[in-house]
């Protein structure tokens, strides 16, 4: 029989080993602000773009996607949205224009993904102001991925940009114009382009010092179909700066509407608002 001393000596390393192992146990939450989630809930942007790439759109084909935003805390509605979106024919993907979460917490982002992964098409997101609360920025980075990124699908380049200036105390970094300008100048072989961000430039939460440079850069961008936002929880299609640039604002999940967006030609589009 082992003596207590021996048992004690052997046993005392176990808590250390156990504690290291707990890094993999998500029920044991260190803080709501920690971003430990199972691997399947990480790098979602990259994973979804890989799924999209696996179903390419033939050159010259009309592109159709679903545009929505602000899924924050609307889990009941998310289920209904997914059920409705899965009935739409000819959809390539779905876009959530930011505010995936309400409190910038990892669990919320995981909960939303648990709903949206039931879509028959991949989905992509752009970061919203609520996703930046507390430690939301590294959390979004861990779970979804880049804050600014672009991809080409069919003939369209999508530019996803963080415009949540207020979350950075209007320090001139969001939107990152140094990143955005070359993105707008080079369509990576696509015929047309679309810019998607969370906070629209018309909103008080947009960095006031960057409003004019941003709006001007969009006006000068060749074949820009439109600029799309969330944040307002209210459907609108306007040209607020009368510079030829169309700004589209999404309903939030709570409004129980999404948009089916069809894009073709140089910058032709049609938007149908769907109730779910």
């Amino acid at each position: 029989m082992l003596s207590f001393t021996k048992l004690y000596r052997r046993a005392r390393v176990v808590p250390v080993v156990a504690l290291l192992g707990l890094g993999g146990c998500n029920l044991i939450e260190f803080s709501p602000n920690d971003h430990r989630v199972p691997e399947e809930f990480t790098n979602l942007t990259e994973k979804n773009l890989a799924k999209l790439k696996a179903k390419p759109l033939a050159a010259g084909d009309t592109l159709r996607f679903i545009f929505t935003g602000d899924s924050q805390q609307f889990y009941d509605e998310a289920e209904a949205l997914v059920a409705s979106a899965n009935q739409q024919p000819g959809i390539s993907f779905l876009v959530v224009a930011g505010d995936i979460s309400d409190f910038g917490l990892a669990r919320e982002m995981q909960w939303v993904d648990e709903k949206l992964r039931r879509l028959t098409v991949p989905y992509v997101t752009v970061i919203g102001n609520h996703d930046l609360v507390g430690n939301g920025r590294p959390t979004y980075g861990h779970i979804f991925g880049a804050y600014n990124y672009s991809f080409v699908y069919g003939d369209t380049k999508f530019i996803m940009v963080d415009t949540n200036g207020r979350e950075y105390n209007f320090d001139g970094t969001a939107p990152d114009m140094g990143w955005l300008r070359p993105q707008l100048a080079n369509r990576d072989g696509a015929r047309r382009q679309v810019v998607i961000s969370h906070v629209p430039p018309t909103n008080d939460d947009f960095d006031p010092a960057l409003r004019t440079p941003y709006v001007r850069a969009l006006a000068e961008a060749p074949n820009l179909v439109f600029e799309m936002n969330g944040h307002n929880h209210s459907f609108s299609i306007t040209q607020p700066y009368k510079d030829g640039v169309t700004y589209v604002n999404s309903d939030a999940f709570s409004e129980r509407h999404y948009m089916v967006v069809t894009v073709w030609g140089d910058k032709q589009f049609r938007i149908k608002r769907v109730k779910f």
């Binding site: 707990l22 260190f30 602000n33 910038g104 979350e167």
Partner: protein, 217 residues
Amino acid sequence: MKKLLLPTLLLAALGAKAAPAPADTTATTSPVKADTPPAGASERKWFRPKHLVLQTGGGLGMVAAGAGYEFAKNHLETDILIGYVPKYYAGSTLSLASLKFMYSPFHLPVGEKLQVVPLTVGAYFSYTHGTINDELKGQYSADYYWFSTDTRYGPLLGSRLTFLAPPVAATGQPRKISVYYELGSNDLYLASWFNNQKGGLAFSQLLTLALGVKADF
């Protein structure tokens, strides 16, 4: 399986740590009359904590350590904990100050050296220091965000296994070591659940687990 195994090992290890009861202290213990307090009791200052606590999880830190007080024949407890979350897991190093209040209505003896506390209900309140985007003065208008980034509170529900060791010879101070688990949640998870009553969120999705050990001293 791995997920289940590790907490079990942790509990087992803590148990193993608690089990040895040094025999030399028992033999020399002077009998203490039931109606008089132990000799050492008078030297115990009112502010001296009754027990030390070490726990992981429960949203209060990867590691949280502290001390606590017991009232009403140990049915009521208050623990004060300082917790730590490394930058690797949260994007910034977090330190948490927490306050726990617990009520355990039943203490069931199982043999001479073991006690089971089947139910502990309680609540906690925690403050997190070190979050990245912490509201700066003037960053937002009033009520821009209705919730606090740093202050969390929530309910607790757990059980406990207590190993009783013979009292300290010199003072008559009773000694015990307990291992416990607590299921909990927080105000933000609960708010999310309350706002989705059509099955959008399962209650189990809100739960957090804490594992810990308490040692009277």
